[in-house]
């Protein structure tokens, strides 16, 4: 597998050299983080459950969504060409980027050609994946994030921790601190008397960004869907920052992963129901923009990005991860995510979907990438809520089989396998254990110690079930 830049923060402490368990252990001890995440994920879980149960045909929509995506992926070459033709016919320009560096180069070149040095951005996972903001900065171009949560992250020099709500790890008081302290450095300052009342915080963001929206001539966006048949781009959002970026600037550059395609206009009737209910737990998100090619006099560029996706596509089990529509329902329901937050996953794609996407897109060279498929108790809650039925536990298990395992674990598993392969061997071990049971330590040795630190270890019985059965003829003697 080729190594693909996935927005993994290189110079930061720990980075790819530190595995998920160590990062997660740190996060678990942060009680403020635990409290923030618990409150937020429980709120959104209940909302999602409510609006999903309203639709009597949710299961059928989910089946259709899964099949549409699978069919698209199977015929992706043809649909990409169809999309390219439709966008070009509608006056847009289509660019192809094999990796992050190429995408960033294309975008920087397009911005430079306009003569502008500032761009506004709509929240986009894919440009986080490519590290576009940093690449633009190196070219002397400043990118301003406009989504409220992205703004909180950018002003706070923080990292996103959630697909939909990148600042989910911050509560209102922390957000107030960031706004009050940092807004002035980026533009219009926060009002002197800013409180931590959420509407006041939203108002501060509105005022801070308004002039920027009205003046900036270039915008960069992602897209939730790209319709091959018509060349239509679709962006779902809530705040109106998306509409500002998509509508007001003279030049619009949209970067999409090649898996964002749907074949036909009609397919939107499925995804416009699945996505908002799964992600923000609303019947419909406040704003959805759809445009085809150059619109209302705008110059429009579409950048199609591979960046490891075709590698994922080649894996029969793993390719279902490409069905993902980035709703984040799996994060919100995940008991592991709820307790550690997104930073522990060390990638722009956190949570259960990140645990299967990052190692596939990025390879499993580092300790972090190898540990991600194990960042799950395989409880299956993610699969149950996934609107396109990605069997995340199955992919996790599949990836676990592809990782390099620690030597001691390999030896232990081989020994256990040898014992369990013959019932006679198992019986002998059970008898031995029964005789030695009083010698068993209360703290388990080696890597098992972490488990027994907070739990009592079950005691071995004097007699196994099979010994009892044999001795008593199944209780008849």
């Amino acid at each position: 597998m080729t190594r693909t830049f996935l927005g993994l923060p290189g110079p930061r402490p720990g980075a790819a050299g530190e595995g998920f368990p160590a990062r997660a252990a740190r996060a678990v001890r942060d009680s403020q983080l635990r409290f923030n995440l618990r409150k937020a994920t429980r709120t959104i879980r209940a909302r999602r459950a409510g609006v999903v149960s309203e639709l009597p045909d949710w299961a059928e929509l989910r089946r259709a969504g899964k099949a549409i995506k699978d069919h698209t992926l199977r015929n992706l070459d043809a649909y990409l060409l169809q999309l390219e033709e439709a966008v070009t016919r509608a006056g847009g320009h289509v660019h192809w980027a094999a990796d992050a560096a190429e995408a960033n180069r294309i975008v920087a070149g397009l911005v430079r050609a306009t003569g502008e040095t500032e761009v506004v951005k709509v929240k986009s996972m894919v440009t986080q994946e490519t590290g576009l903001n940093e690449a633009l900065l190196a070219e002397g171009i400043t990118a301003y994030e406009t989504d409220l949560a992205e703004l909180i992250v950018q002003l706070g020099d923080d990292r996103p921790s959630h697909i939909l709500v990148p600042a989910i790890h911050r509560n209102r008081a922390e957000i107030r601190e960031v706004f009050a302290g940092r807004m002035a450095g980026w533009g219009r300052p926060a009002p002197e008397d800013l409180t931590d009342d959420p509407p006041a915080l939203a108002e501060a963001a509105r005022v801070h960004l308004r002039e920027r929206f009205l003046a900036t001539k270039v915008a960069i966006s992602g897209a939730n869907f790209a319709v091959a048949e018509t060349g239509t781009m679709v962006v779902l959002e809530s705040e109106g920052n998306g509409r500002m970026c998509l509508t007001l600037p003279e030049t619009l550059i949209t970067v999409v992963g090649i898996e964002k395609l749907v074949p036909t206009w009609r397919d939107l009737e499925v995804f416009l129901q699945l996505l908002p209910r799964s992600s923000t737990g609303e019947r419909m998100n406040p704003y959805t923009s759809m445009w085809t090619g150059a619109t209302e006099g705008q110059e429009f560029h579409l950048v199609l990005l591979d960046n490891g996706r075709t590698g994922v596509l080649a894996d029969e089990t793993g390719r279902q991860a490409l069905r993902c529509i980035r709703c984040s329902a799996c994060l919100n329901v995940c008991p592991v995510y709820e307790r550690v937050g997104g930073h522990a996953y060390g990638s722009v794609y956190p949570g259960p979907i990140g645990a299967i996407l990052t190692p596939q897109l990025h390879g499993m060279e580092s300790e972090l990438e190898r540990s991600l498929p194990y960042a799950s108790s395989l409880c299956g809650a993610c699969y149950e809520v996934c609107p396109v039925a990605i069997d995340i536990p199955a992919v996790l298990v599949h990836l676990r089989a592809k990782t390099r395992h620690p030597v001691a674990e390999r030896a232990g598993m081989a020994a256990a396998g040898w014992v369990l392969e013959r019932s006679g061997r198992l019986a002998r071990m059970q008898r031995l254990g029964g005789r030695l049971r009083r010698l068993a330590p209360e703290r388990l040795p080696g890597p098992m110690g972490g488990w027994s630190d907070t739990r009592d270890v079950p005691e071995l019985p004097a007699e196994s079930f099979r010994a009892w059965w044999e001795r008593t003829d199944g209780g008849r003697r």
Partner: protein
């Protein structure tokens, strides 16, 4: 109790071969659960066999990333249970392993066909009682306040639904109290509890708090691995709450004294 109804066919006792797949965890650590299953099924007129060749379904190996080793155990398990009309498993997670993961495992020629042939006849204990035998009142008596944890693989893998609750509601003397956030994982997850011990402990702490909130004397589940995990914490915290496998409650016909497997502190034995 002269006959047994399987898939709508009433068959005279003796002509149907029912095997108990005890699972390696129950066999080695919780023989009391196995004895309870035998007691319970006999009382319902089912005489189970214990095919001695059985060992382990292979779940630990497969879920930890040792697919080939796990697959060998799966081949062994399928062979051990060939020829039986029904296989009863007192573990939701091992039953889910067979049903969900076996079809995805590599194997020698004939393995896929054997899996396809065997898996429809593998029943988790409550499925066997409710769907195959068609009973919910198993004649049990257990005068205690009990809460039920559905466990992930029983809930989302096997979709057991309310089968366990229907059985518990018919137990005389038993007061069933709902467990808040019951659908949430206890944090066991096999080797997850070892590899990510801190997260696992945090999940378990929340589960324990939910259990204590119910005021139950007994936490019950259809899977001893999850119970060991939660019970280990309940025991360490000296909460006085016992954990019991569902089979042990359903087998009880009078207040049990030490029927279950015993662990330090948390598990088994009547108060």
């Amino acid at each position: 109790m002269y006959g047994l109804t399987i898939f709508g066919l009433t068959i005279q006792e003796g002509s149907v071969r029912v095997a108990l797949f005890i699972t390696c965890v129950n066999d080695t650590l919780f023989p009391g659960t196995g004895r309870a299953v035998v007691t319970l099924l006999r009382r319902l007129g089912v005489d189970v066999d214990f095919p001695a060749a059985q060992t382990c379904c292979g779940q630990m190996h497969v879920n930890t990333g040792y697919r080939d080793e796990g697959a060998r155990l799966a081949h062994h398990t399928i062979a051990a249970f060939s020829g039986y009309d029904a296989v009863v498993v007192p573990s939701g997670s091992c039953a889910a392993m067979v049903r969900e993961q076996y079809p995805r495992l590599p194997g020698p020629p004939g393995f896929a066909a054997a899996v396809a042939e065997t898996t429809p006849r593998v029943h988790e204990l409550t499925e066997f009682l409710v769907d195959v035998l068609g009973v919910t009142d198993v004649g049990a008596y257990f005068p205690h306040r009990v809460t039920y944890h559905p466990t992930c693989h029983s809930l989302r893998g096997l979709h057991l639904g309310d089968r366990p609750l229907r059985l518990l509601r018919k137990v005389r003397g038993l007061e069933l109290v709902p467990l808040p956030n019951e659908e949430e994982c206890c944090g066991f997850g096999g080797t997850f509890a070892v590899k990510n011990a801190d997260v696992s402990a945090a999940m378990c702490a929340d589960k324990v708090r939910a259990v204590l909130d119910t005021g139950a004397e007994v936490l019950c589940a259809a899977d001893n691995s999850c119970l060991t995990h939660i019970g280990g914490t309940l025991g360490r915290q000296k909460t006085g709450v016992r954990v019991m496998h569902l089979a042990e409650i359903l087998a009880a016909t009078e207040p049990v004294t030490g029927a279950a497997g015993v662990a330090r502190g948390g598990r088994g034995g009547a108060a």
